[in-house]
Every structure is written in structure tokens, then in C-alpha cells.
């Protein structure tokens, strides 16, 4: 029953950390001297780590996740002890015995195994999930929904007036406007419960130096204000795309209830964006022709939920949110480590743009798509470029990630998994020596 998955590399382990502090602390703890009873029975590892108190912490990791359990008080998952245990397993394999874990851990492991077995059987059995739970009062829900839609209508109406004013006065005047103009407009949209539109308004100042980009950005905002009053004429997936662009939250329960695709998913790459105080982690999963985007958020420096190991394969049920281009998705249940699955074929830059264009034709608000592309030459410069036989595109990202691409290739082209946002490629991982290596997005530790 127990499948021991491919061991994780130190880099993949550190990429699981919920924040950079955990990664740094885990590195410090990853020496055998700080541990007692290091053991690696089949499918799991466990050990006892001397913390600041008298009693050591008991830490165990079920390698099928990898999911950790630790007696430490940390509320981060996985905690630094679980990460350190995995790092130790990678660097000091000889220090591990094979003793079974203490009862408390064994119970937890057995419970996980039983649940996994249950889910597997359920998945093999009936496909439709049980929908027996009592939903909230539909009448009250409809009322709330109507109230919100009214607010959004008001907010987008005034946004349209604002855009018309901008164009009547001439965009040449726009850079002279005080910053408060954009902020006020964005704040109004937040009040109107249209945070997606507010975000786009906050991005306007970035484009003030480039008239063509400014007009394109304002035009897309305008498209939002024109589409909203006509939303009843849209198909259901188009309507969902519009609502997502305006900033309606995803109906997670509904998405999960709809069921998903159970398959072996390649964790192709992880991207990180920080806007104001909110960090967004994007995880791209690929299985066959399907690409799924998982989003995790961290506000005010709170840790991210556990990440999936980049470059590895997980078996998971992925439920796509409705949309003309299925992309955003949620995981139903747990992702379990599984033997490597075939990776998607690599496409040329030209084909990448074709695919992006096709997606954009279906969902004009789509921000980015991701593709395995290349092999690409990376060319340093300002900006850097990626080039193949079909042409070249600007490539961006942290200096660390760009120089790592250059170092790995040594002047030879390499296939790269990258996001395309209409302006530049952002490399997330690189295929080198048969392995998919994650590229760090931050400049340094």
C-alpha cells in the first residue's frame, strides 16, 4: 500500500516552506546533532528535535504528502521541524534508523492512510459527490446577491464616467493628475465591492509613461463597464469570467461540489506576486492537455498554506472554476506524492503566443497563461530576451532566476516553464538534465 515517492531535493523542500523565515530556520535545524531518534520507516520519517523547552518536539512527516505533524506550537504548516526533518533525510540519510514511530504518530499515519484509501475507493466508485449538506437560506442569499450587484452596477457606472472624462480631456493630461484621483477612484470601487476593477484602476499610474499601454489598459477597464450591464446576454462561463474580473470571490464550495479531474499532475512551477500587503502564490499544475492554476494568498505577512513540491508529480483531484478558458482551480482533498508523470511537450514562442491569443479571445480579462516553451536561448540585456527559431520575447523576473537560466544553459538553449502576461515571459522553472528545477522568484534570502 505504501508507495515511497521520489525523494525531494533540498531546493524542493525549501520551496515547501510557508515563508522565508521557516526556510531559514529549517536550514539551521537540519543537523543530526539537534535530533534524537531519527527514523525512516517505509513511507514516513520521524524524529525528536530539541527545542527551547526541556521536552523535545516529536515530528513526523508522511512522505505521501509530504504532510507533517509536530508537537511544536507553531501554526505554520509545514513547520520548521518538519522541513528540517526532510532536509536531514536528504543530506544525512545514513543517520536514519527504521524504528516505527511512537503511538501518537502511528495513529495519525494510520488515519491518513485509511482516509486516503477511503478517498481512492470513493473516487473509483460513484463519481457524484454527496450533496446532502443543508445549504444556506436561498432567499436570503439571493437578496444579498442582488444588493451586491446593485452596488457593483453603481461603481462601474461611475468608473465609466471617469474613463469618459479622461478621454474627453485627453490622455496627455493624465500624468499631470494628482495621485489622489486614482486612489479615490479605486477606493470607490472597493466600496462598490468591485475589488478586481479597483486593482486595475490602481495599476493605471504604472502606464502613464506609455500612451499606447495606457489607452489599452483604460480600454480594458472600459470593456468591463460595458460588459457588466449586458451580463445577462453572456454565456455562463463568460459571465463567470466577468464576475472574476470585477472581483467577485470564487464560490469555492460550489466549485468543489462540481467535482474535478483526478489525475497525476505535474507541479510545473510557482510564481509569487506581492501587491500592497497581499502576496499571491500561483502554482501551475499540468496533466495531459489540462493546465490548472492554484492561487494562495497571504495577507499581512501571515504564512501561506502548504505548497506543492515544484518539479514533482502529485495525484490530486483538481476542480476547475467555471470560465471560458478553464484555468483557475481548487484542490479537492489532498495532493499525494506519486511517481513522475509525462511532462507536456514544449512549444515554440510563436505557438505560445498563439495559445495565449486563443485564450484571450475567449476571456479578454485573462491576465496570464503558462507554458513549457523552448528550448530557449536567454540573452542578457535591458531587458533580457528569450529567443528560439521563431523569434524572441522579453523575459523578466528576479536577477537570480535569469542568471540561473544563463548559468544552467551555458549558452545552450533550455526548455523553460514560463508565464506570459502579454508583455514579458516570467520563467518559473527550467528543464535541465531531465529534471524540472524551480527558479526562485525573490532576489535573495
Amino acid at each position: 500500500m505504501t508507495v515511497t515517492p521520489a525523494p525531494l531535493t533540498p531546493d524542493a523542500i525549501l520551496a515547501l516552506a510557508p515563508d522565508s523565515g521557516s526556510a531559514a530556520n529549517a536550514r539551521k535545524l537540519a543537523t543530526p546533532g539537534k535530533w534524537r531518534n531519527l527514523n525512516a520507516p517505509a513511507g514516513s520519517v520521524w524524529g525528536e528535535c530539541q527545542g527551547s523547552g526541556k521536552d523535545p518536539y516529536l515530528t513526523g512527516v508522511d512522505l505521501s504528502g509530504p504532510v507533517g505533524k509536530c508537537s511544536c506550537p507553531s501554526r505554520k504548516f509545514p513547520c520548521k521541524h518538519a522541513l528540517a526533518l526532510l532536509l536531514l533525510r536528504a543530506t544525512h540519510p545514513d543517520d536514519f534508523g527504521a524504528a516505527p514511530p511512537p503511538e501518537s504518530l502511528q495513529t495519525w499515519l494510520d488515519g491518513r492512510a485509511a482516509r486516503a484509501e477511503g478517498e481512492r475507493q470513493k473516487a473509483e466508485g460513484e463519481k457524484t459527490p454527496a450533496g446532502g449538506k443543508a445549504g444556506p437560506d436561498p432567499a436570503a442569499q439571493a437578496k444579498r446577491r442582488a444588493a451586491r450587484e446593485k452596488k457593483v452596477t453603481g461603481g462601474l457606472d461611475s468608473l465609466q464616467t471617469f474613463l469618459h472624462d479622461l478621454v474627453r480631456d485627453g490622455l496627455a493630461q493624465a500624468p499631470a493628475r494628482p495621485y489622489t484621483d486614482w486612489d479615490t477612484q479605486a477606493a470607490r470601487l472597493v466600496d462598490a465591492q468591485a475589488p478586481g476593477a479597483a486593482r486595475l484602476v490602481r495599476q493605471i499610474p504604472e502606464h502613464l509613461g506609455d500612451p499606447a499601454a495606457l489607452l489599452a489598459h483604460l480600454a480594458r477597464l472600459h470593456l468591463l463597464t460595458e460588459a457588466w450591464p449586458r451580463r445577462d446576454s453572456l454565456s455562463e462561463p463568460e459571465h463567470a469570467d466577468l464576475r472574476a474580473a470585477v472581483g467577485f470571490p470564487l464560490d469555492s464550495a460550489g466549485v468543489l461540489e462540481g467535482g474535478g479531474v483526478i489525475a497525476a499532475w505535474n507541479v510545473m512551477g510557482q510564481g509569487l506576486t506581492v501587491e500592497d500587503t497581499i502576496s499571491t502564490r500561483r502554482t501551475w499544475l499540468v496533466s495531459g492537455d489540462d493546465t490548472a492554476l492554484l492561487l494562495d494568498f497571504s495577507a499581512g505577512g501571515r504564512p501561506f498554506p502548504p505548497a506543492l513540491p515544484p518539479g514533482h508529480t502529485v495525484r490530486a483531484e483538481v476542480c476547475f472554476a467555471p470560465g471560458a478558458v478553464p484555468q483557475r482551480a481548487l484542490l479537492r482533498g489532498e495532493a499525494l506524492a506519486t511517481p513522475p508523470a509525462p511532462r507536456p511537450p514544449s512549444v515554440t514562442l510563436d505557438a505560445l503566443l498563439d495559445r495565449h491569443g486563443a485564450a484571450l479571445a475567449a476571456n479578454p480579462w485573462l491576465e496570464r497563461t503558462a507554458h513549457l516553451t523552448g528550448p530557449l536561448h536567454v540573452i542578457p540585456g535591458d531587458p533580457w530576451h528569450a529567443q528560439d527559431s521563431t523569434g524572441r520575447l522579453p523575459i523578466t523576473g528576479s536577477d537570480r532566476s535569469l542568471y540561473t537560466l544563463l548559468a544552467l544553459g551555458g549558452g545552450q538553449p533550455l526548455p523553460v516553464y514560463a508565464e506570459w502576461d502579454g508583455a514579458a515571459l516570467t520563467p518559473l522553472s527550467v528543464l535541465h538534465g531531465g529534471a524540472l528545477l524551480p527558479l526562485r522568484q525573490e532576489g535573495s534570502e
Binding site: T9, P10, D11, L14, R27, T31, P32, G33, K34, Q50, S52, K54, L87, A90, T91, Q160, L163, H164, D165, V167, R168, D169, G170, A172, Q173, P211, A212, L215, A216, L218, A219, R220, H222, L223, E226, L349, D350, L353, G357, A358, L360, P364, P380, H385, Q387, G391, R392, L393, D399, R400, Y403, T404, L406, A407, L408, G410, G411, P413, G422, H432
Partner: protein, 493 residues
Amino acid sequence: MSDHDQLLALALVGTARGQLPAPGPGALGEAAARITRPDAEGTLLARAALYAIAHAAGRTPDPADVAPPAPAPPETLPEAPERAARHLPLVLGTPLLPEWLALCAQAGWRAPPARLPELLDAARHDGSLRSLLIPVLGERGAWLAGFNPEWRFTPGGGEDAWDDATEAGREALWRGVRARDPQAARELLAAHLPTERAGSRKRLLGALLDTLTPDDHALEPLLDTLTTDRSEDVRTLARAALHRLERSAQNARNAARFAALVQLGKPGLLGRLKGETPTTLTRPTGPDEHAVRDGLPDPTGKDAMSAIALLGHLLVHTYPDALLRALDIPPAALATIAREHDYLQALAANAAATRHAALATALLPHQPDDPTLLHLGPPETLAAAQRHALRPGDPERLLALLGPQPGPWPPELGEALLDALQGSVQSAHYDYGWGYRWVRLRDLAATRLHPHTPPPAPLPPDATDYAHRTLTELLGTLELRKQMWTDFGKERG
């Protein structure tokens, strides 16, 4: 002007000041013509949205008109195997990185390409890592560094790199070349030093002094010209370099002056018993044509002082062997002369500057506690002094005696230090409570103890949590280093 450009032109001046342009022919123009709104602003924005999305969706790659960089040359060293490389993510940014780099160089391996940007950045911020990194960069690392001006300290920069570099950059560049090819570094210095600015001359001479070897005798003519440089700092540094080049003309002149200045007397009975020789000084009579360039004290200043001042200068600034040959005396006699005239410190400074073991050994009976002399003198004497300092657990003295000693320390010394650390930490509750000298000794121990140093007996039960944590961490670091040594195929050597 395309439809889109016409639309953009109107958007810039404002719809209040112009007419909406009529879309041209073609599918996009026809589609745009079908978009009309009651107001010009709405029409303009709606058509702009069509163009923006059509452009984004219809974009093709830019022409590939820039040649990719020339590929890196083939490697000459094997890449560090996975078992050794796996430690890198854990030691990067820690005090253990220098040891990883040194082990990698000793094994004759190079760092994995994926880690090169991180390593080069680390060496950019910490100059002391550069000479350790350069041997393990491989061809790929040297090639990669050429793409980032901040990595110019690596070999392969070339002439352009020198011209473009700042003063600090030139020093870094020179140090890089020096670590790889001393002869090339000498040529670089000879080519550039005469035309550098004073600040740069100072930096480069400082870097030369840090790495001076007897082979640098070839640089003597250059250094000679610098003894009359406009900058006093440059003159001083040039003389310091000539001082440390045993066969330099400056040392020869100083030796001749020494022979003329010092006359050995006949020792009396007491003197013979104590092994002493009285000396008399004769101050020079004639003018010394090289006095100024050799930096001699001014003899016309205070007459009474000049002979003794000259002795002091010669004892500090002349290579010891030149002094010994000048009077044909053993190092012990030179030490006696210095003591007689109260110049023991000065002579010790000379021994330290020239790293002269025999002179240091001769000076030790007079200054048995001087840590610098102990480090130059016989290892047994140093070891005895260290043992002596360990017993009472005198952290200040221990720091002075252990600080300059490179690792890995002999296991007996390491064991005794671990015992001393353990003994003193037991009742401490935090770093400040323990004392910064002990904390520094602990940090030294973490990187310089031999990784196979046997661990001390467990702490007593009443030891503080801080003591437990401190020792666990220290021993943990040793474990990690032991594993690293094993993975680099270095068992006990």
C-alpha cells in the same frame, strides 16, 4: 498612420478637441466600424479595447535579430557530485560556506552551475570568499561572471574590465587575477600602477602587501620608483613591500647602515654568563643619499636622538636576515641588542611583518605572552601556552591565542576548548550573560574545530536551557561539517 495610431492620437489630445477617425479597410477596420456608442468617448474606448485585445491576441514574436551569447568553453574540472552539492543550499549564507568552497577546491571539483549566481553574489558581498570561490567556478562560472559587472572580481575580465572598473573594482579585479596567476598580476600592476590615481595606487599596493611572496622581487624596480611618490601613504606602502622582499636594495642599504651604526663590545664575565654582548652606537657622520627615499628619521633633527632613532627604524624596517648577516650574529643576539635599547616591541613588529619564525623564537623568552610571536614560534610553545590559558579558562587570552590560528585545530586542543566552553556556559542564560569573548570563542570553535573532535560529556542536569541550546547547536554544526567532509571523500586528513 494605422487605425490604432489615429485613435491614440485623438485619445491623447482628447475627444473634445477632434473628430473620431473613420476606421480603414480590412477585417479589423470593419469590426471597428461596427462599434459605435452614443458618445465619442465611449466609441473611442470600445474601439481601443478591440485593438488592444486584437493586438495582444495576434502578437507574434519579435524578430530574432540578436545573436545569443557565445557558449561557455568546455569544462576542465568535474562537477561536484550530488552528495557534496546537496550541502550547498544549507551552508550558503552561513559561516560554513568557506569550508565547503575549500573542500570543493581540494577535491578538484567545481560548483554546480545552478548555484553559480548565488555563489557569485555571496562573494560580491563578502570579499573574503572570492579567492575561495575562484578555484571552483569552472569555465562556466568565469563565463557567467562576464555578463554581470558586479562579478568583475572573477578571472577573465580583460582590459575593458580594468578601464570600466571603479577603484574598488580594480582592486577586486587585481585580487582575482592574483589568486589565479601571480605573474599576470605582476604584469597588470607594472602596466597600470604608474598611471593610476593616488587612491587606486594605495588600494593596489595594499592588495599586493596582503599577498606578497618572494617571487615578487620582479616588482622591485616599480616599488623603488614609488618610494618617491607624491603620496605619503603610497611611499610608506612601497617601503613596507621592499622591507618584506628579503633581497631588496632597500634591505641591503639598511643592513649596511646597521653595520656602520652598531659596534659589538666584548662581553664581561656577567655578560658572558647571561649570554649578552654590550653594544655601542656610532651615529653616522656623512650624508646618506638614500635617507629620504628609505624613509629614515631626519638626522639633522635632534642630534642626541638620531643614533638611537636610526637604530629603532632599522630594527623595524629591515628584513631580519639582512640585519643578522650584517653583524654575523644569531637571532638571540639581535634580540639582546633590541632589549638593551628598549626596542623589543619594534623588533617583534618586524618579526610579525616578515613572519620570521627564528626571530620570533628568539624574542619569545623576552616576551613570552605575545600572541603574535607565539603563533610564529615553535608549535609546541604555542600549544603549551594554549593549554595553560585553557586551564583557568581565561577567555581574553584564549581569544588572542586561538583567533589567528587557522582550522582545523588539533583534536586535543578542540576537546579542551569544548570542555572549557561547556564549563563556562552552564549557568549562563543568554549571550550577554555569558560574555562576548566566550561567544566569539564558541563561533570560532564552530568553524575551526576539527569535525572529528570528540564531544564533551553531557551537561549536568542543572545547566540552563541556554547552555543546552548553545552546546546542541555547536555540536550540530560539527556534525554537519563531519558529514560534509565525508561527502567530499575527506575522512580525517
